[in-house]
């Protein structure tokens, strides 16, 4: 059984005349796999990631999404997170007044609680954060600030990966985690992501650039256009897209 099974998913912007954005998208992701999704701006990649995470701005009009056989669309946002869904946001928000450490701890403990596990002890938590932060080049000063407050674009992306490393999700959805990263940071972040690759964890990596996929080598590459996956292939598909662009798919769709 696939870990994530998206079948003929149709979704539109919530509201009476909401525009349809996903128009029959299907995708199966098995444990241990890394899937890359590429596609032109506005094709619906972030929308897909938001719908997986449970954002309420969209209405699913048809199709289904299951996680380990359970109906994901029926779950509350926080329940999905506790079941192991993690979205690294394309644009992480700043949360002034909520300290990063408070936030990380509240997230971790809430998930543990929902899974019936004990809360993490203070020393264990501090050690965990210290280790993971050091690997990602996140300094103590950043951890002392409000969540993402005053972080540069690249720092925000690193902070997302820090959260991911701490929460150890089952399904990681990375929405343009590479955008805004300098060359060195791209390496650091990719290493952070690769460290999380494991036989029972799956990843969906949304990106515009083949370069990221040199670091995080995918098992599959999908092309998304106008709310659908229009082509799937191996990692070589990314190279082809890099060379030819999306023109051929956009004509098909027109």
């Amino acid at each position: 059984m696939a870990m994530l099974d998206i079948e003929n998913l149709h979704a539109r912007i919530d509201g009476e005349h909401g525009k349809e954005i996903l128009k029959g998208l299907s995708l199966k992701v098995n444990p241990g796999e890394v899937h890359a999704i590429m596609g032109p701006n506005g094709s619906g990649k972030s929308t897909l990631s938001y719908i997986l995470a449970g954002k309420e701005d969209y209405e699913v009009t048809d199709g289904s999404v299951t996680l380990d056989g359970e109906d994901l669309l029926e779950m509350e946002i926080d329940e999905r997170a506790a079941k192991g869904v993690f979205l690294a946001f394309q644009y992480p928000v700043e949360v002034p007044g909520v300290a990063t450490m408070t936030f990380l701890r509240a997230s971790l403990n809430a998930q543990r609680k929902k899974r019936g596990e004990a809360e993490i002890s203070t020393p264990d938590f501090l050690r965990l954060v210290k280790d993971k932060a050091a690997n990602l080049g996140i300094n103590q000063d950043m951890l002392r600030r409000g969540v993402n407050v005053g972080f540069s674009g690249g720092e925000k992306k690193r902070a997302e990966i820090l959260q991911m490393a701490i929460l150890e999700p089952k399904l990681c959805v990375l929405d343009e985690t590479d955008s805004g990263l300098d060359i060195d940071a791209l390496k650091v972040v990719s290493e952070g992501v690769n460290a999380l690759r494991s036989p029972d964890r799956a990843m969906i990596v949304i990106t515009h650039y083949q370069r990221l996929l040199n670091h995080i080598v995918p098992d599959f590459v999908h092309v998304m256009n106008q709310g659908r996956i229009v082509r799937s292939g191996g990692k070589e598909l990314a190279l082809e897209l890099e060379a030819n662009g999306y023109a051929e798919y956009q004509q098909d769709a027109a």
Binding site: G54, E76, D78, P92, V95, G97, A110, Q111, L167
Partner: protein, 437 residues
């Protein structure tokens, strides 16, 4: 209008008028003040919505119960009920039903430079410091203050000698401790000498389910180069009526910070008056109000910049759940002489309840031409994007809301300098949120 037509007195007004009969005779200045205050109440009565300053808090219709003035409280009862800020390392004075309870008050072993007595004792002794009472006269009749002036019999009188640095705060714990509803009045005076520094805390509490009335007024005279911090926590019982006034006369080069935290009472009104009468001073008034159910709370500020070069900063945060109603009124007056005044006032409300309501009325009245003044007011719900972000990390809805509300009021609470008091208020905010979840 025919002068013979008297307005109809409400039952609450009649009860107050009956209490006013007890205003004692006397020839001293205080007795004169009291009689004048009683007369002004007889003339104006309780303010209603056509009185500008009380537009959103119509006392005449809100104050329904007619209650007598409270008798003295049993010591054990007062002790049991006065719970707030007990964990804070402070000199504690308990005022129950408007009278200082010596058995529960730490009146001995005063730090050098600190004088602390009760208003009652000061009046009996004809203490000269009492000439400061009534020093700040609001430009308009203020019913809450007038009633306090007329009916208060006790409170604390504190003098901090010039240059004295009193590190340990004085905490005045007001408590209502009677079995039946009644009204209590307390009047306090704090005189901070030139170059002195002092921290004053007040708390207010009483039983739920009793429509008692608490009226408190505290006057602060702040000398040149002095530093005064005031922190107040209002957690009156759920059916109570809370009226309070803080008045500040601020000398030159001084620093005054006041923080008002309002959680309790069915109806609460807190009025702050500041007269900036010395140059180059800084006044910071901040506050947070957390309301639920059908609570009504009003914070009203008057800042009077009379001299050049002063700075004033106000930040008030209101959280409104259920059907609660919040009011913020703030007026900064900059007199012609008060050039280079820098005044900034901000009121922010966070609305959680569908039926909750906020009225914001910030005002500037500027007569000088070289000033920097601004005000703003916002009112909105919790940001959905932030909520989604927290929930996407596994934090349940209520907890995510709590974190964001805490962050919202935290910005104001953070301004409290004293660690113990700040932490105690953070803890009260957390308790409020926990009760909600």
């Amino acid at each position: 209008m025919n002068a013979d037509i008297r307005p109809i007195r409400t039952p609450a007004e009649q009860a107050i008028l009956a209490s006013l009969d007890a205003v004692p005779a006397g020839t001293d200045r205080l007795a004169d003040l009291r009689r004048a205050a009683a007369r002004s109440f007889e003339e104006h009565g309780l303010p209603h919505r056509r009185v500008e300053e009380w537009k959103y808090t119509d006392l005449r219709s809100l104050m329904r119960e007619a209650v007598p003035v409270a008798g003295s409280a049993a010591v054990a009862e007062a002790d049991a009920r006065a719970r707030l800020l007990r964990g804070v390392e402070a000199r504690r004075i308990v005022i129950a039903n408007g009278a200082v309870v010596p058995e529960l008050s730490d009146l001995a072993d005063l730090e050098e430079g600190l004088t602390l007595t009760t208003l009652k004792a000061a009046m009996e002794a004809g203490d000269e410091v009492l000439s400061r009472i009534g020093g700040i006269v609001p430009s308009r009749y203020d019913a809450s203050l007038a009633l306090n002036t007329a009916l208060s019999r006790d409170g604390v009188v504190i003098t901090v000698a010039p240059g004295a640095k009193i590190a340990r705060p004085v905490h005045v714990a007001h408590v209502f401790a009677s079995a039946g509803a009644a009204a209590m009045y307390a009047r306090s005076l704090v005189v901070v000498g030139a170059g002195a520094s002092f921290t004053y805390a007040e708390s207010f509490e009483g039983p739920d389910g009793l429509a008692y009335q608490a009226n408190s007024a505290t006057e602060f005279t702040v000398g040149d180069g002095a530093h005064l911090d005031v922190v107040r926590l209002q957690e009156e019982g759920a059916s109570a009526f809370h009226l309070s006034t803080l008045l500040f006369d601020v000398g030159r080069d001084s620093q005054v910070h006041a923080f008002t935290f309002g959680l309790g009472a069915a109806v609460a009104r807190t009025t702050l008056y500041a007269t900036l009468s010395g140059e180059d001073s800084h006044v910071g008034f901040n506050g947070a109000t957390l309301l639920k159910g059908r609570q009504h709370a009003d914070s009203t500020l008057f800042l009077d910049h009379q001299v050049p070069g002063c700075e004033s900063r106000e930040l008030f945060k209101t959280v409104l759940d259920d059907n609660a109603r919040g009011v913020f009124q703030g007026k900064i007056v900059v007199r012609q002489a008060a050039q280079k005044t820098d005044g900034r006032m901000m009121s922010r409300a966070l609305v959680l309840g569908d039926e909750a309501e906020m009225d914001n009325k910030p005002e500037l009245e500027i007569f000088a031409d070289d000033v920097q003044c601004g005000h703003g007011a916002t009112c909105g719900a919790i940001d959905d994007e932030l909520l989604f972000y927290l929930r996407a990390r596994g934090i349940p809805m209520k907890e995510a809301q709590s974190l964001l509300v805490q962050a919202f009021v935290g910005e104001a609470i953070e301004t409290i300098e004293h660690d113990g008091l700040r932490e105690a208020l953070v803890e009260r905010a957390e308790a409020w949120l926990a009760a909600r979840a």
